[in-house]
Symmetry: C2
Subunit: 338 residues, 2 copies
Amino acid sequence: MKKKSLQYIADKTGVSVSTVSRVLSGNGEKYRISQKTIAMVKLEADKIDYMPDLIAKGLRTNRTDTIGLTVPNIDNPFFANLSCIVISELKQRGYHVLLADSMELDSEERDALNMFVSRKVDGIIAVPVSASPSLYEEIAVHTPVVLIDRYFDETSLPYICTNNYIGSRMATDYLIRKGHRDLLAIEGNRRALSNRDRTGGFLDEVKSKKGISIRTRIVGNAFSVDNGYNETMAILKSGDLPDAIFAFSTTILLGSIRALREYGIRIPEEISLISFDNNGFLDFLDPAITRIEQPLTEIGRRSTEILSELIENRRKELPDPKPIQELLKPSLIVRDSC
Amino acid sequence: MKKKSLQYIADKTGVSVSTVSRVLSGNGEKYRISQKTIAMVKLEADKIDYMPDLIAKGLRTNRTDTIGLTVPNIDNPFFANLSCIVISELKQRGYHVLLADSMELDSEERDALNMFVSRKVDGIIAVPVSASPSLYEEIAVHTPVVLIDRYFDETSLPYICTNNYIGSRMATDYLIRKGHRDLLAIEGNRRALSNRDRTGGFLDEVKSKKGISIRTRIVGNAFSVDNGYNETMAILKSGDLPDAIFAFSTTILLGSIRALREYGIRIPEEISLISFDNNGFLDFLDPAITRIEQPLTEIGRRSTEILSELIENRRKELPDPKPIQELLKPSLIVRDSC
DNA sequence: GTTTTTTGCGCAATCGTTTGCGCAAAATTC
DNA sequence: GAATTTTGCGCAAACGATTGCGCAAAAAAC
């Protein structure tokens, strides 16, 4: 196969490269190219199965139809699920995806973002990892950015996240209604705002139950199986068991379950369990786990929607609209672990 | 911030664009640029935090340092896991990743591959979906391709997959050694060679046990929870239960478990279960599931290794080496479900 | 048969790099 | 001091597309 450039078609048909370009980008009419020429060019293009060089096109037009997506860890089912949704939403809007895995590392995140900029992506969707929004804010000056799942406190960057505060209150409320009065929360990464919101919701909900005396404990410091395991183990060793454990993520939950099993503690007879994050697997555990489901699909849908609006807006040289910052309400999935 | 092109630095320092380019790409010495000029240019580049336009660079050099990766469904933990490994291996080799999710659809796969070619990716790693290698073979003429996890029968395309045949024999052997004589295999997509290999391994292993009378049944037709559920349900309704069920994937396994639970059948007391694919969650099921683990890390490592060799080879205009086609041996993870 | 309008298309610049070739000035040789 | 070599760097083409401008030929108007 020869080189399939516009030049090639131009030579074959005897018209100029410009004409071929106009025809193939569908602007034949607009530039008053004759039907005969249009047909001829299209025929030739079909014959060699012409596909434009998107690199050259990108250089010239400054658009790549590519979105950079960075997540903390694709291996985590939660992010895999989220990525999946975002990718398919983006595809529907005509974008392709450059994916980076920041591995929860600031340095990797920085690399990924710089790479996105160098590649001139049209926009960026990110689950941020670092504690400061500054790099994102710098980038947002020239490239639209939408944060998902995690966000920053004082920033004008748009974000679409779960309302972790509400979710946490829902879970806590449920536990209390079930009659539990001694609650243990195992939290994740304390740097993450999402985690702090969950902690806040947990405590506020307890406080709101006036007249009911409830004991609360908060331990842990990472969204990991090990953290769940270690903290639960510590509690088990102390012998001072709570009525219920609220795991701030599925990973924490699993660690906790492992520890409880080692001690032969029965769920939910001896202790109740509730968790954040949804995951199909949780229905196959015994007992199936009651949990707070984050509105992933909605996050994926909204974020891509916002991002493409931002991109369109910039293209029209309009000023950015007021940043859209939404916290979406999660839902309670009741199963058998409480 | 102004435009950060070579031109800008050239203007600032008073040298030509070519000189700036040579200095910044580290070829200053080679082109005998004076130390003074080199220092000056570098200083200016640092000052504006210069980052090359990778699009322009790609157009000129015909390399994008990008690899296209397509998988059937990123949402499936198996592929999420695999992608994660491939992505991080590629990053270590200096490549970035354009990710496409083919959703097990031929049409999506075709789109993705064309997109990769249009973007001039340096190479492609793919879990193929379609039944025919023809499109891949066309592409491989100009862009290196390595298949993973699934492969084609009669092709010279390189691939790195699990030896499903061996894995299936290992699982079957284990079941038989455990004393089971009535085996049910629930298979996945029959179009997939990997599935056919598993079926073959299952039957051959049984045949190899001369002198032992073993009953075998093979049902099912998809790598899905529903398929596992439906087929198991059918068996339960017939009342003709096997001693053991061999699920050809985790998804099938889960469906099967759901059905068994509905009927209150105890595992492993009344029936044994074994599965293909590894997944951390399987250890948290009750009982933990005995399974065949695919060497994902090895697949990720080898495939990126092969691919980058192919790319280097092409760059040196050497002929392609004999295609590397490897089937890696899986391993048995013994737990409590048999 | 001019003049004006419309039709149909090409010229050439441009996007930001890379790179082969070559030229002028400085340094060295004789 | 002329010839030669070395040093240091710039010119301009190229990658493959897009697009503003303008020009020639054909058609229409008078």
